[in-house]
Assembly symmetry: C2
Homo-oligomer: 352 residues x 2
């Protein structure tokens, strides 16, 4: 099967680019003395999770219990969930995972810790809990070193839990701030006799500066495997590194400078990025995807010397590839123009 | 099963509100002498498509061949695809549908018509083709009456096709412009002896003004079944009419005025709307969802007198409900707080 045999819209993955992106990231981790723990939210494929581990990753990161279940079923044995897991059903599922793989989680509140403590009670097999730290990104996380110490004590006081360290999803380009925050927290913990086994940092945009966060022991990049327009904008790679494209068909040419693709927001997602527009057309780099409706992408081709024709196929590099992958039941793995296989996106839609 | 037994995030549907929205729309169509042909892109559920037909709809609208296949399998017998369908595989699937249901499609170019003409060749069972008209929305569609006439002649010249009328996805709040455009096209067609059997208008925002588009014979609203913040902004209903909400859990309260929900862009989609923010919290109308990442919604609760607690569940009315539904494998139908059933979103992810 060749790329021209694939019905559109579809996601196609350039396997050679994936391999290059994975190898480069692992080499950086190895050279930096950092453990790599890739976030599978981008690809959602057991195939690539296992490949990441085979290349040297210490384990993987999932955001949802349902994603972790898929990956554990596929043979991944070390999974970190950097999320506040709560609710009786999710805690039961978490306990089932903890019985069969090396699992770790996070908490940023006493309420979350109480939930874990109520479900995990075996001192011989404690659940490792990292404390999420808001080092400036303004999402989840405790706000200062005093809160870290108080929460670490709560964790350690629970027989079935083990305080394992710190986790942060850091603000971009603010290494000094992140170092200062984590440094203060680690010092405060040590002053109380609390060991910090792991410090988990995250994000693809700053991954190739990850070694400058000197307190971190591991990193959780996700998007680096495929990259996208946002990552290119962040300087994390070039447009040529982008391994995942949406294959689309030109379905209309209503005016000389307007083309319409069959890849709307249901195929490209609606995430915006600083470069503007809704994706980069590989074959028409001057084209601008001006607007998306669910099944249409309206493209301004006025800056293109050669203009696309009706029925022609194009490849679109998405603004943000992670939510795009989540829209498809399968991806097509390509060697050049040859389809190696169609792979189900096994962890797609695992919302819970 | 009660609503509190549902794991979050999840879509819950208030069936009483659905019924009220459907009844109101059908009553308007009946009173206006318009045929109602609901677009199923919003709900993607055979259950509700069949309900729409039972209430008086002449058939349904799908945007994708794959959606039409799901709906035909469920027993819907009249489906309109207002899209340029192209490519050998899709045309084969279209032909299979044409053999078993009343099917109609659109075209806005000679290339699309040639595709249909090459696949549909039986004069005894012609494929009805409507011409898509760009009456100002700037998406697909021919640009003027002369192009309509030329394309209608091409359709009629193909033995296996039948020119059936006009279709438009109109610009909002521009009835006069749409009437003038369609009126000119219809006059030009009549002057050439070409009958206009159907004129299909679309969109939920202006649905309750649809009768003012005097040339239209049918309308294809989609979002009206659930409604959302965008529709409320367009004046197409009130916030109380919104039947679909995302049930979410407060997973973090890092600061007094910050709450974080487990409903990120993978649960609420990233579509923006004029009201700002990323959804309306039913229980906390003063709260503002400031930002989404894939698995987190960061909420500013500074304007809320009572503030949500960790572990509390809230319901979020999405900005744009259609892409939200497309993210879930199932929806929960509610009678009050009782779960009637979990229904698979059978036409979810039917991209092709």
């Amino acid at each position: 099967m060749k790329i021209q045999d694939i019905e559109t819209p579809a996601i196609v993955i350039d396997v050679a680019k994936v391999e290059a992106n994975l190898a480069r990231a692992q080499a950086y981790a190895d050279a930096s003395g950092l453990k790599l723990r890739p976030h599978i939210k981008t690809h959602k494929l057991p195939l690539f999770a296992l490949r990441q581990v085979a290349l040297g990753a210490v384990g993987i990161t999932c955001q949802k219990v349902g994603e972790a279940e898929v990956m554990a079923d596929a043979g991944v044995t070390d999974i970190f969930l950097p999320y506040n897991i709560m609710g009786a059903k999710k805690l039961d599922r978490l306990a089932a995972l903890h019985d069969r793989i090396s699992l770790s989680v996070t908490a940023d509140s006493a309420a979350t810790v109480e939930g874990y403590a109520g479900r995990f009670t075996d001192p011989a097999h404690p659940l490792p809990v990292l404390i999420e730290c808001d080092t400036g990104a303004g999402r989840c996380g405790v706000q200062n070193a005093a809160e870290v110490v108080a929460l670490a004590k709560r964790i350690d006081a629970a027989p079935g839990l083990r305080f394992d360290g710190l986790m942060t999803f850091p603000p971009r380009r603010q290494t000094e701030k992140v170092n200062a925050w984590l440094g203060e927290a680690i010092a405060a913990l040590k002053a109380e006799g609390l060991d910090v086994n792991r410090v988990s940092n995250g994000g693809s945009p700053d991954y190739y500066n990850a070694a400058t966060v000197t307190n971190a022991t591991e990193h959780r990049p996700g998007t680096y495997i495929y990259s996208d327009r946002m990552q290119v904008g962040f300087g994390a790679g070039t447009i040529e590194d982008c391994a995942a494209t949406v294959l689309a068909t030109v379905v209309s040419r209503p005016e000389p400078n307007r083309a319409v693709l069959d890849s709307g927001s249901k195929a490209l997602a609606a995430d915006q990025c600083e470069a503007g527009g809704h994706g980069h057309l590989v074959e028409y780099p001057g084209a601008v995807i001006k607007s998306l409706s669910e099944e249409h992408a309206v493209v301004d081709v006025s800056a293109c010397e050669r203009k696309p024709e009706i029925g022609e196929r194009v490849r679109v590099i998405p603004n943000h590839v992670c939510p795009v992958v989540n829209l498809y039941d399968e991806v097509y793995l390509l060697d050049g123009d040859t389809v190696r296989e169609a792979v189900p996106v096994a962890a797609r839609g695992k919302l819970r």
